[in-house]
Amino acid sequence: MPLDNVVFWVFAPISIAAAVGMLVMRNVIHSALFLVVNFGCIAVMYLLLDAPFLFAVQIVVYAGAIMVLFLFVIMLLGVDRGDVRTERLFLQRPLAIVLALAFLAEVTVAIRAGVGFSTLAPQGFEALQPTGNTQAIAEVLFRDYFFPFEVTSILLIVAAIATMVLAQRKVRAVTQAELVATSEAEVAS
């Protein structure tokens, strides 16, 4: 068994298990940590797929930055005491699972028809990137995707403004009376 096969069959189940773990854990922090594990596994997959740059970015950006942000917010809000996991919506869970399975089946059918289950990746991927993956990516990025790359800057500005707007205390905090009114409305319904 080739190494990459072994790696795949080791990390794929782990990533699935981690995803399951994320879904079932009572404590949000545990879930977040499982998600980090999952991201790590995916990073390994990137390695298998000859994308070392993305492997690094995945670890740094996702596991390192995004998930830390998540954890930070969880701590900030203090909602880490474990969630109520009872389902109050009729048929929500069974439907979700059935639909997800159906979705998976549909995707599988399409992949089987479009790619084939035994198709292997072609050779010569390294030849495309003589000066290394990062350099090659940069070339594509700044040649073909120069403009989209610029556009991401607007996206990030918007994100920054959004955070500023939402984080500002200028938003009138909810008054006690309003809270009561809201909860009463809830009860009434």
């Binding site: 399409a110 479009g114 790619v115 996206l155 918007v158 403004i161 707007v165 309003e178």
Partner: protein, 500 residues
């Protein structure tokens, strides 16, 4: 601010000594976006550095940016350069020009409304509002211009993120609206992105022109392309609020600040539909026989859901939200004819719809503004005797939405039904007209409350001049375009040709 400056630095061209060749930088086709972003950034700087920002100046900056963008766009009408620029990621065609101009006009109305509403209650005034509108508009124009699915996705995210925040800028309900919008939006954009991935998987490219070439030349994977088409349809379906991907619409429209709704109901629909047309009528053109049934089905479900549920509402904004669903369905019905007929019909309908919906929400903003539930039907009882002008305006817009001649809504419906029937889908057209009867019932419920009921208590309406004039302009447009549709159809005819 530092983050922002960093981003700016990032956006600068790469260093001259870099070994990577950059594509030819042709800025004119993206000049509208540059104007919009520049004005947005200017507004942000003003908000950040001025001790107390003034509404009027914000509005002026925004309107200047929008005006500039509009002028820049109109200059592109006779663009003779390459049809695709900036590494083939941006299409420079009249299709984009029309969309851009419509979008900036809608945005201008949104800004004017917002400035007016903020003027009523200083506590609700947020200076960031205008830059966000501008960035959202930039995202919208980009999504239309984009010739690359990833750029479509990025633009989609720009406008979505802006709109999430704008939605949350109101009172108590708006944060709920923002949250729902955001969660569902993120969910749906995952599907969209998955679709982009599949399209890439199918054709090795995300460029629209490359995809169509690949699919037409049978070099791509048909089944992956189909999967991509389905997933993209879901993503677009969400944005244009076609049933069953419409569920966010009523809650968001009801909860978001009315100027935002006025802006987004029209602009999002325009942008998303224009992008949808480019993707489906160009990129997926070889798959026409596969996607028209989906569009057909979405149209049926949308018109029926929208019309029927609109009839049960007791809140004007919510009702208009459902009607937005129905109108998405009508436009989809027009798009079942996968050629210029369908594109023209949809373009006309979108512009007509923009006029009507911006007008309708504009009135909504003014009615009973001091009450707890300003948009509830109760607030509209006796509006005609309270504020006859507002009632007349709203009636015009509602009748136009209902498709009663001689309003533009009728001509719009005529064109989409004509398009559907030309494609042989007369059952669809029949369902649509029946749905429009049901929808008419929904609108009449409002009209009858305005005209046939006595006002309840001492309700006060905002009868300021500026928004009423804005409304009047739109109402006149409704009639002018209804009677002289060729003012518009001539332009649309020239803009409806999508090249690849």
């Amino acid at each position: 601010m530092i983050a922002m400056l960093l981003h700016l630095a990032q956006a600068a061209p790469t260093a001259p000594d870099a070994p990577i060749p950059t594509p030819a930088l042709v800025f004119r086709p993206i000049l509208p976006e540059l104007f919009l972003c520049a004005a947005g950034i200017l507004g942000m700087l003003y908000e950040a550095f001025a001790p107390r920002s003034r509404r009027s100046l914000h509005l002026a900056i925004a309107l200047a940016g929008l005006f500039g963008a509009g002028v820049a766009a109109s200059k592109l009408w006779n663009w003779t350069g390459a049809p695709f620029v900036l590494g083939d990621t941006v299409a420079a065609d009249r299709f984009t020009v029309v969309a851009t101009i419509v979008l900036v006009i809608v945005a201008a109305f949104g800004c004017i409304y917002a400035a007016h509403e903020a003027g009523r209650d200083e506590a609700t005034y947020r200076g960031e509002f205008y830059p966000l509108i501008l960035f959202a508009t930039a995202g919208m124009t980009l999504i239309v211009a984009a010739n690359d699915l990833i750029l479509v996705f990025l633009a989609l995210e720009i406008l979505s993120l802006s709109l999430y925040v704008l939605t949350g800028m109101g009172g108590r309900r708006s944060s709920e609206a923002a949250m729902k919008y955001f969660l569902l939006g993120a969910f749906s954009s995952a599907f969209f992105l998955y679709g982009v991935a599949m399209a890439y998987g199918a054709t090795t490219s995300t460029k629209i022109t490359a995809i169509v070439a690949a699919l037409a030349g049978q070099t791509g994977s048909q089944s992956l392309a189909l999967l991509a088409m389905g997933l993209l349809a879901i993503g677009f379906g969400f944005k244009v609020s076609a049933a069953p991907f419409h569920m966010w619409t009523p809650d968001v429209y009801q909860g978001a600040p009315t100027p935002v709704v006025a802006f987004m109901s029209a602009a999002t629909k325009v942008a998303a539909f224009f992008a949808l047309m480019r993707v489906f009528d160009v990129a997926l053109q070889p798959l026409t026989w596969d996607w028209t049934p989906i569009v057909y089905a979405l149209a049926v479900v949308s018109v029926l859901t929208g019309a029927v549920l609109a009839a049960a509402q007791r809140d004007v904004k919510r009702m208009l939200a459902y009607s937005a669903v129905a109108h998405a369905g009508f436009i989809l019905a027009g798009l079942t004819s996968a050629n210029t007929t369908g594109i023209r019909a949809a373009m006309f309908y979108l512009i007509a719809y923009s006029v009507m919906t911006v007008g309708a929400f504009g009135v909504t903003m003014l009615v009973a503004f001091k009450t707890e539930e300003p948009s509830s039907y109760d607030s509209y009882e006796g509006l005609a005797s309270r504020s006859p002008g507002l009632a007349a305006l709203l009636t015009v817009f509602l009748l136009s939405l209902a498709g009663i001649p001689p309003t533009v809504g009728f001509i719009a419906k005529l064109t989409v039904f004509g398009s559907a029937i030309a494609a042989g889908n007369w059952p669809l057209a029949l369902i649509c007209v029946i749905a429009s009867v049901i929808a008419a019932y929904a609108y009449l419920r409002v009209i009858l409350r305005m005209y046939f009921r006595a006002p309840r208590g001492a309700v006060v309406d905002d009868t300021s001049l500026v928004p009423q004039i804005a409304g009047l302009v739109l109402a006149v447009t409704v009639f002018v375009l209804g009677v002289f549709p060729r003012l518009l159809s001539g332009i649309i005819e020239q803009a409806s040709i999508l090249r690849w």
